[in-house]
């Protein structure tokens, strides 16, 4: 690998990180706006930049939409006093927000954003690192995120963060099982006899060029979505945070930029979660289920749409639209469903979701075996 190649890779990595950070910032805005709309309010609509706000219609529209609000929010986090209470364990206290933030950004590196044919007709994938263990890599790093919650809970040395940390460790461990079991049928399907084994996310999406897995294995998708809500600490599963009964849960003692790291880390996890659910169950960059649009385009003389830059743009736009929908779905659910009680969370995880995932795995495995044998 020469220096230029390395430089290009670093630049691409920075671009992806900035895009993800932008998505995180604007998901915060979306959270505030959607919650406001659901509750009959208007949401943030005052922040504006001097020059852009002076543009006659557009400036006012953007201001009313709160487009500049994330700048104000971020600036506030930067300039507030960063309090480290005297009673905390300083090393772990500082380490926790970093751990909350970094794994979320690491996982994004194995997420493919789209696919197109280059001029020579070869398939190109828009991805930072096409590792063969894709989904396993994401699971591994995403589960590192629980250390952030547990560490901050213990290091804060105060009761509410402690309770939050305890809840986090119990909840995240419980739901990871169901989550892992929910994706197994998908891998059984794509790793049929004769095919070389792979956990690659690209392979999963390619296997959905015709029918999405949400249609062929709806129960897996359902279990996966529920477990994803629990893993990203989103309502109705925001046990570790539960600001109404634990003040702020694990981040009670945090302020300023450290709190900002937790906050952005949560939304980065949410973004990666939306990417993963899109890739694994909702067809990734394939626009519609039921037909392979690239084949159809090839037959009707629109093949140039799938090649080069147009192909990449269409694939990425399709993928991005689905991710945005799922981000909206996360927010929408949050402002609809009240939080579960702690014992209910445990009961759903162990007594409902896990048996359901195991049953689903068995049924899917038998079904796939039957298809292999008789069809």
């Amino acid at each position: 690998m020469d220096w230029l190649d390395l430089l290009i890779r670093v630049a691409l990595g920075l671009v992806v990180i900035s895009v993800v950070m932008g998505v995180c910032m604007y998901s915060v805005l979306a959270e505030r706006k959607v919650s406001a709309w659901i509750q009959g309010r208007v949401g943030p609509n005052r922040t504006s930049l001097p020059i852009i706000a002076a543009i006659p219609v557009v400036g006012r529209f953007l201001t009313r939409l709160g487009i500049f609000q994330p700048l104000a929010d971020g600036g506030k986090f930067l300039f507030k006093e960063d309090v480290i209470p005297a009673h905390v364990n300083k090393i772990y206290f500082v380490l926790a927000p970093i751990i909350a933030f970094v794994p979320a950004l690491v996982t994004i590196s194995v997420v493919p954003f789209g696919q197109y044919f280059d001029a020579a007709g070869a398939v190109k994938t828009l991805i930072l690192a096409n590792v063969d263990v894709g989904l396993l890599f994401i699971f591994a790093f995403a589960s590192l995120g629980v250390y952030a919650l547990v560490l901050s809970g213990w290091a804060s040395n105060s009761k509410y963060p402690f309770l939050g940390g305890v809840r986090a460790s119990a909840q995240l461990v419980s739901y990871e099982l169901a989550m892992g079991l929910a994706v197994l049928p998908v891998f059984i399907w794509i790793n049929g006899p004769g095919a070389s084994g792979s956990l690659s996310l690209v392979r999963i999406v390619e296997a959905q060029h015709n029918w999405w897995f949400v249609l062929t294995q709806p129960l897996s998708a359902l279990v996966f979505v529920i477990a994803l809500f629990a893993e990203t600490n989103r309502l109705p599963f925001d046990m570790p945070e539960s600001e109404t009964d634990l003040v702020g849960g694990y981040h009670t003692e945090y302020s300023s930029f450290k709190f900002g790291f937790f906050f952005v880390g949560e939304y980065a996890n949410m973004t990666v979660g939306a990417c993963v659910i899109t890739l694994v169950f909702f067809g990734g960059w394939h626009p519609l289920p039921g037909f392979d649009w690239i084949e159809v385009a090839g037959m009707t003389g629109w093949a140039w749409l799938a090649t080069g830059i147009p192909g990449a743009l269409i694939a990425f736009a399709t993928f991005a639209a689905k991710v945005v929908f799922f981000l909206f779905f996360f927010i929408w659910v949050r402002w609809t469903v009240p939080r579960f009680r702690y014992d209910q969370v445990m009961s759903i995880g162990w007594r409902r979701l896990l048996p359901l995932a195991i049953a689903n795995l068995i049924v899917c495995a038998l079904g796939i075996a039957a298809i292999d044998r008789f069809l």
Partner: protein, 181 residues
Amino acid sequence: MAVGIKVLERKPLTWSERMYLPEIAAGLRRTWRLMWKPKVTIEYPEQRPPIPAGYRGAPTLVMDPNGREKCVSCQLCEFVCPPKAIRITPGEIPADSPHAHVEKAPQEFEIDMLRCIYCGLCQEVCPEEAIWLQTTYSITHTSRADFVHNKKKLYEMGGTLPDEHFKWDKKLAAEKHGNAH
């Protein structure tokens, strides 16, 4: 059983309700519809809420249409004021004034808006209809001293009461006809 009390029967949850997911879907449908409803927010500095009739805002002093201050500093409001927000320094009206027959007017009239509870007793008790509660509800100053509204400020806020009553002019006319009271 008392009239008007209706005891609702608590039905056990149906199967679909216990499954929870259909109920979540129903909730999502409802919040989706709420999202498109008109907003109830009043965007305050630009939009103001409608003031209901009989609203009790800041107490002020008023003048009559001839520009005479109606207050005769009888100090009834000062006595009745529950939080003791009003302080009146009575004064004489100079003999060369056209309203000299009224005899008294406040030399200084202070209402401490940090104490005022907007109860309206001052307006109710005033025999001269000189003190009126206005609809002003946003009283903002930058120092505690500014919150003590003095006479000038109170007349500024109160203005003129367009009430053609002229009680003291009638009294003066009656007195000149030798028919006082």
